[in-house]
């Protein structure tokens, strides 16, 4: 048991959204905390407004139909009580950011989690890239694990896998599992799709697997763009080197939330997904998780 006095309950995180019901972010119903900020810049990103932190340029203020956005002392301020959630501010933002973030302290999030504790199997921190606010995550999970009422909740992170080995070694004692996206196989393809190479991602997957904290590896299938199909032999061989209890989830590229170049790319249809999935499962010798919805 972690001693309560060793936890910094005042540590704060910048949160872009919180969901109290999610079936797709780990085992059971998850309370999902989305943190603002990401170090990848994926062409296919479904939440591009979570990539950068607000630079207070103020371009969004005039678009707000209910005056929920104002500029105070050169900072964009968001009044949640006036907001109608039309997201016009996000549409106009030139910086892939979002004026509607909230700064939460660990204490404030504990209150929220407490209110929902009967309904959830655990907490998942997602993003943006969750691990960019590593210190905050560690304090929050420490606090959850040391609370008598919350200690049964599982603590997960959903990550792009870019965290360093040292970073993971700090986080590992406080998480029950991690879900990592593997967006392409070859370094060059990964670099083109995400803005970063895949080396760190593979390293993270290996490290988590070694410590039995790897819950799920997610493959984003983008027909004709990603190399997961043409590299299926190598991908399957690698996935087979991971513990058998690790879930392999296939995500089908869809247009929801996507901006820019990615919108011109074809969505992944159910038939295309089945083609990829059958190639992969044939080599894996076990089932993978498939999407339940195609748009």
């Amino acid at each position: 048991m972690i001693m309560l006095e060793s936890i910094n309950l005042d540590k704060t995180g910048i949160v872009s959204n919180i969901l109290t019901f999610s079936c797709v972010d780990g085992p059971g119903n998850r309370l999902v905390i989305f943190l603002q900020g990401c170090n990848f810049d994926c062409i296919t990103c479904h939440n591009p407004h979570t990539i950068n932190h607000c630079d207070d340029c103020g371009d969004c203020v005039a678009t707000c139909p209910t005056d929920a956005l104002t500029i105070v002392h050169d900072k964009v301020q968001w009044d949640e009580s006036l907001c109608i959630g039309c997201d016009k501010c996000i549409d106009i933002c030139p910086s892939k950011s979002n004026p509607k973030t909230t700064t939460y302290s660990v204490t404030q999030l504990l209150e929220l989690i407490n209110k929902h504790r009967y309904f959830i199997n655990g907490i998942t921190i997602s993003g943006g890239e969750a691990t960019l606010q590593l210190g905050f995550i560690i304090e929050l999970f420490k606090a959850v694990k040391s609370s008598e009422q919350l200690t049964h909740l599982s603590c997960f992170v959903d990550s792009n896998g870019s965290l360093s080995q040292l970073g993971w070694s700090k986080l590992l004692p406080f998480i029950d599992g991690a879900m990592i996206d593997l967006k392409a196989w070859q370094d060059a393809t990964h670099l083109w799709l995400t803005g970063r190479e895949s080396h760190r991602v593979i390293q993270s997957i290996n490290q988590l697997a070694l410590h039995r904290k790897l819950h799920e590896v997610r493959l984003l299938y983008i027909p004709d763009k990603t190399d997961l199909l043409c590299e299926v032999e190598a991908v399957a061989k690698y996935l087979n080197s991971l513990p058998k209890e690790v879930y392999i989830r296939l995500n089908a590229f869809q247009h929801h939330g996507v901006i820019g170049e990615g919108l011109a790319w074809d969505k992944c249809s159910e038939v295309q997904m089945q083609q990829f999935s059958s190639q992969l499962t044939k080599r894996l010798g076990r089932d993978v998780l498939l999407p339940s919805i195609y748009t």
Binding site: T20, F21, C23, P27, G28, Y118, F119, I120, S292
Partner: protein
């Protein structure tokens, strides 16, 4: 009634001969003059404030009947010339026979018994496989001979072979009928049994889960059952009538919130009690229903029948009353309007608990959040948050939770869960258990993509709704579903659920 209307029923290509007979009988009853009610009640009915649920002009059978099936199996029936059951086959045979003698407002029984409790004494040394085979055939028989999804089986809260087998068979067959309620008791029900029930919801949107201790505390030791669309009623009794109040229309009569709660609501409750007394008096005093063998052989007891005091349109009522104050606050989405709704529910509960009725359970009516009927337009069932505007399921449960303590005879409401839950059924378990541990009286959920869709309390196959206009349906409730889909926002629900809870009168639209 016109001859043309009868003619259109008789010649309707979508109805079976049996369904036609049912609607013709309703028309015949409707040709009698309405019961002698006072002017105020008539005005309230005409204004759409009160509604008698099309139960008929001269009620000759109770709305819902819950016979004591355990007693029936142990004593047989003199009237039906049946010996007591001595084994499992005989028990199923006796039940099958009695179901055809249990009336209801739909003329198909709405309650088939707490079947695990009823059948466990007859299991003997049957193997699991033998029980499975017998239950499966019994289940198919029920769906094909009594095709109405108002018809309800209860199981749980204890873990037993019948309960488990029924859950297994129900998930395999995915039939519309019978509907199923699983009783949950935190102290008695093991987690893996609740998990089997919530896994079933992901597969076929059944069972409905009732919070056993909460319901049990509302009734005496003789027990209770959940029937039709989640009406909780005394066992060996039932409901003599259901009259419902449209809170939306009533809110239009009020000057402000205080006027609504302190003056308008009590005034119209009094009018509604008069109507309830008139309707139940005819049933109990004139119809001779309680002279029949169900009563004389002790399977029902006249004193255990209660009127249900139904309400609907809470959402619109609250929004109108907030608007009157110049507030844009919306029911289900913020504390201010939610608190007003709780105050309205509390007032209703106080009135119902302190008003004596002529024929009631311990002298009282039972408050019910009514799930709507297919003819409702622009008004939301019970206390539900309107279709298409629901928050996420956890927020939904927390927002509506305070209402649940007040509605003794049930609160018809449905959560719509998107289909991603199918690959993660543990999430359904978490949600259901969270709701029940928080004090939710009942938990009902639809999974959006399911072919079987629950329409507050009864099941309609989605594919059947689209087919009905062309071909007609084998099941009575699909007719309701088709009508509901046209008139209500059934297909707009987020992602989609429908809500109704009654037989309609005939409509040729």
């Amino acid at each position: 009634m016109t001859q043309a209307r009868l003619y259109s029923i008789i010649t309707d290509s979508r109805l079976s001969a049996k369904q036609k007979s049912h609607y013709l009988a309703l028309e015949a009853e409707a040709s009698l003059p309405y019961l002698d009610i006072d002017g105020k009640a008539q005005q309230a009915i005409d204004a759409g404030i009160l509604c008698d649920m099309f139960e008929g002009h001269a009620p000759f059978k109770p709305r819902y009947v819950l016979p004591d099936y355990t007693k029936f199996l142990s004593q047989g029936s003199e009237y039906l010339e049946l010996d007591p059951a001595t084994n499992f086959d005989e028990a199923l045979n006796l039940l099958t026979i009695l179901y055809h003698h249990v009336p209801s407002v739909t003329s198909i029984p709405v309650y088939l018994g707490q079947l695990d409790t009823v059948l466990m004494p007859y299991v003997g040394d049957l193997s699991e496989q033998q029980i499975y085979q017998k239950i499966k055939l019994f289940w198919i028989m029920l769906d094909r001979t009594l095709p109405d999804a108002f018809m309800h089986v209860n199981i749980g809260p204890t873990d037993n072979i019948i309960c488990r087998t029924i859950l297994q068979v129900d998930a395999e067959l995915k039939q519309i009928a019978p509907n199923l309620t699983f009783m949950y008791d935190e102290k008695v029900t093991p987690d893996d049994l609740l998990r089997q029930a919530t896994d079933n919801i992901c597969v076929c949107s059944k069972p409905h889960i009732a919070n056993y201790p909460v319901h049990a505390a509302a009734f005496d030791h003789s027990g209770f059952g959940i029937v039709s669309c989640y009406n909780s009623l005394p066992l060996a009794g039932g409901s003599n009538t259901l009259v419902r109040m449209n809170l939306k229309e009533l809110a239009k009569k009020a000057q402000n919130q205080t006027d609504f709660i302190e003056s308008v609501l009590p005034k119209y409750c009094a009018i509604m009690f008069d109507l309830i007394d008139t309707r139940s008096s005819f049933l109990h005093e004139k119809s001779n229903f309680f002279e029949g063998f169900l009563t004389t052989e002790g399977l029902i007891d006249e004193s255990r029948f209660a009127p249900m005091f139904g309400i609907y349109g809470m959402s619109e009522a609250v929004n109108l009353l907030m608007e009157e104050k110049g507030s844009k606050s919306q029911y289900g989405h913020d504390d201010v309007s939610n608190k007003l709704s709780y105050a309205i529910s509390k007032k209703l509960a106080d009135i119902v608990a302190t008003t004596k009725v002529k024929y009631g359970y311990q002298g009282k009516a039972l408050l019910h959040a009514q799930g709507g009927i297919s003819l409702d337009k622009n008004v939301t069932p019970g206390v539900r948050i309107p279709y298409g505007t629901e928050p996420d399921p956890v927020t939904y449960v927390q927002a509506t939770l305070p209402h649940h303590q007040y509605y003794t005879s049930g609160i018809s409401d449905i959560l719509t869960i998107d289909e991603t839950v199918k690959t993660n059924p543990l999430a359904m378990f978490n949600l259901a258990k969270g709701a029940l541990l928080s004090g939710y009286r009942e938990f009902t959920a639809n999974v959006a993509s399911n072919d079987l869709v629950r329409v507050t309390g009864y099941m309609v196959k989605l594919s059947d709704i689209t087919k009905f206009d062309e071909q007609g349906s084998r099941t009575n409730t699909t007719f309701l579903g088709a009508e509901a889909a046209k008139n209500t926002d059934i297909l707009k629900r987020q992602p989609r659920v429908a809500a109704l809870e009654t037989m309609p009168s005939y409509t040729d639209e």
